[in-house]
C-alpha cells in the first residue's frame, strides 16, 4: 500500500511573487487532492465604499490588482454609468477599449514570461518581458502610468490620445508584430514547451463549464465564453471573435493567451481606424441610486462588479467577483492526478492573481 503524505506548497511561491498556499495530498509522486488556502493579502477594500465618494472610489477599484488595473476601473465605471444612465461618448469608449487591449497584451506577455520561467526556459522569459516593456512604453506615453493608469473616470476618461499619437501607436505595434508572431510560433511549435504542457492538467469542456471556469481557462477547454462578445465599450463595433482551442490542457490555455496578444494588436488597429471624434467625457450630476451587475472580460477572464447605491455619495455595497476566485475550483480539479513536479506549471496556467482574488 502506498503512503499518503501532505506537502504544503507555498505561501512563498516558487514562480509567483504572490502568496498562495496549497496543501497537496500525495500518493508517492502523484497528487490525489489539493486544498487551496488564500487570505494572505486580504485587505478588505470593498468596505472602503462606506468612506469614499463613489467617484473617488474608481482609484481604489483600480488598485484591486496592479495587472488588470485598467479593466477593473472600467468595470466599476460601467456599473455606475448603467445605474445613473450616463451615455459615455463614443471616443471615450474607443480609447477605453484601446487601453483595455493594451493591458491585455501586457498581462498576457507577463504571464507567458512567467510560464517560460516556470518551465526553465529563461530565454523565452526574457524575450516576453522585453516585448512587454514596449507595450508599457506606449501605455506610459498615453496615460502617464505603467501599471496603474488612473485614466478612467465615471462618465468617460481623464485624458485624450491625440490623433498623431494614435498613428504612432499603430506604427509601433506594426514594428513589434513580427516579434510577437515569433514568440507565438515558439510557444506553438517548440519541443520543450510541447513536452512540458501537452496533455497536462486536462479540463474537459463539460468540467470547465460546470465548475465555472472563465477566461482563457474556459476558452482553452473549448468553451466559447468571452464577455467581449456582448459588445460592451467599443467591442460591439470592432467585430470581435473569441479564440477557443479544444484540448483543455496546459498548452491550449497557454496558446489561447499567446494568440490573444496578436488578436489584441488587431483590435487596437481596428479601433484606431474607426476612432470617432468628439468629447471624451459626460458630466456626472447627482448620486447613483439603484443596483447593477457589470461584467467585463479581463485578461484573466470574466470579472463582475456589483454595485448597490442608495442615492447618497457613498455606495451601500461594492462586490467584486474576480476571475481568479472562480478559477480556483477548476484548478483543484486539474491538480488531481498530476505529478508533483508539474504542480507549478499547472497552477500558473490559471494565471492566478491573488491580489484580485482576495481584494
Amino acid at each position: 500500500m502506498s503512503n499518503r503524505i501532505v506537502v504544503p506548497f507555498g505561501p512563498q511561491h516558487p514562480v509567483l511573487p504572490e502568496p498562495i498556499h496549497l496543501d497537496l495530498v500525495l500518493e508517492d509522486e502523484r497528487v490525489v487532492e489539493a486544498i487551496p488556502t488564500i487570505g494572505y493579502i486580504h485587505r478588505g477594500l470593498e468596505k472602503l465604499v462606506e468612506k469614499r465618494d463613489f467617484k473617488d472610489y474608481v482609484l481604489i477599484a483600480e488598485r484591486i490588482c496592479g495587472i488588470c488595473s485598467f479593466t477593473h476601473s472600467v468595470t466599476y465605471c460601467n456599473a455606475i454609468e448603467q445605474i445613473m444612465g450616463i451615455e459615455v461618448p463614443p471616443r471615450a469608449q474607443f480609447i477605453r477599449t484601446i487601453w483595455m487591449e493594451y493591458s491585455r497584451m501586457h498581462s498576457h506577455l507577463l504571464w507567458l514570461g512567467l510560464t517560460a520561467d516556470a518551465m526553465g526556459f529563461e530565454n523565452l522569459f526574457m524575450n516576453a518581458w522585453r516585448l512587454r516593456e514596449e507595450i508599457l512604453d506606449d501605455m506610459e506615453a498615453t496615460t502617464g502610468g505603467r501599471v496603474i493608469q488612473g485614466s478612467s473616470k465615471v462618465g468617460g476618461i481623464r485624458l485624450d490620445i491625440p490623433d498623431e499619437k494614435l498613428g504612432e501607436m499603430v506604427d509601433h505595434l506594426k514594428a513589434i508584430r513580427p516579434r510577437l508572431e515569433e514568440s507565438n510560433r515558439i510557444f506553438t511549435h517548440d519541443q520543450t514547451v510541447r513536452h512540458r504542457m501537452r496533455g497536462l492538467g486536462v479540463l474537459t469542456k463539460e468540467e470547465a463549464w460546470d465548475l465555472g471556469a472563465v477566461g482563457p481557462v474556459a476558452r482553452g477547454s473549448g468553451c466559447d465564453m468571452d464577455v467581449r462578445s456582448s459588445g460592451y465599450s467599443a467591442y460591439g463595433e470592432l467585430g470581435f471573435k473569441p479564440i477557443t482551442l479544444p484540448h483543455g490542457d496546459c498548452l491550449d490555455r497557454c496558446l489561447v493567451r499567446s494568440q490573444e496578444v496578436l488578436a489584441a494588436v488587431d483590435l487596437v488597429e481596428r479601433a484606431v481606424a474607426k476612432m470617432p471624434d468628439g468629447p471624451i467625457e459626460e458630466k456626472v450630476k447627482g448620486n447613483p441610486d439603484g443596483e447593477c451587475f457589470a461584467f467585463t472580460e479581463q485578461p484573466r477572464g470574466e470579472c463582475m462588479h456589483y454595485v448597490k447605491a442608495n442615492g447618497t455619495k457613498n455606495l451601500v455595497r461594492h462586490r467584486v467577483r474576480t476571475p481568479t476566485l472562480t478559477n480556483i475550483p477548476p484548478l483543484v480539479k486539474m491538480l488531481a492526478g498530476i505529478e508533483l513536479a508539474d504542480v507549478p506549471v499547472v497552477v500558473l496556467t490559471i494565471d492566478p492573481c491573488i491580489g484580485c482574488a482576495e481584494r
Binding site: 511573487p17 494572505y40 486580504h42 485587505r43 478588505g44 484591486i64 496592479g66 495587472i67 516593456e133
Partner: protein
Amino acid sequence: MSYITKSPWVIHYDGSSCNGCDIEVLACLTPLYDLERFGIVNTGNPKHADVFLITGGINEQSRAVVKNTYDQMPDPKVVVAVGICAATGGVFRECYNIMGGVNEVIPVDVYVPGCAARPESIIDGVVRALGILEEKRAKMAENGGDKK
C-alpha cells in the same frame, strides 16, 4: 559604484500589495532595467539576503512573516519599502485588515515613493540602500563585528 565590495542579495516579500509594485520589482530584473548589472541577485532565502524589499502594507497575516524574515536576515541588513502602501498603507490605509506601513513592524531604511513605484526609482532606492548597508558594515567593523 566602487564602494560595493560584495554582490548584495535581495529578498522580496509581498505584504498585501495590489501587485502593481510587485511586477515593477520583477521588471527591475528583466533586460530593460537589469538590476543584476549591479551584482544584485534575487534570492528566496532570508539567511542569504542583505536587502529586504517589501511591497504593500502590513496586514494581520503578513505581520508575523515580515518580522520573522527580518529576524532571520544576518547583520548588517537594510529594509527598502517599495510604494506608498509599504510606506503608510496608501489607499488601503483605512481598510479594516491593514495595519499600516512596514515601519509598524520593522525599521525601514529607504522609502521608495510611487503608486506604483517606477522601476527607475526602485533601482535608485536599492542603490541608496547599498550605501547605507556599507555604512552599517563599517560601523560593525569598528565595533569588532558586533551590532552597535
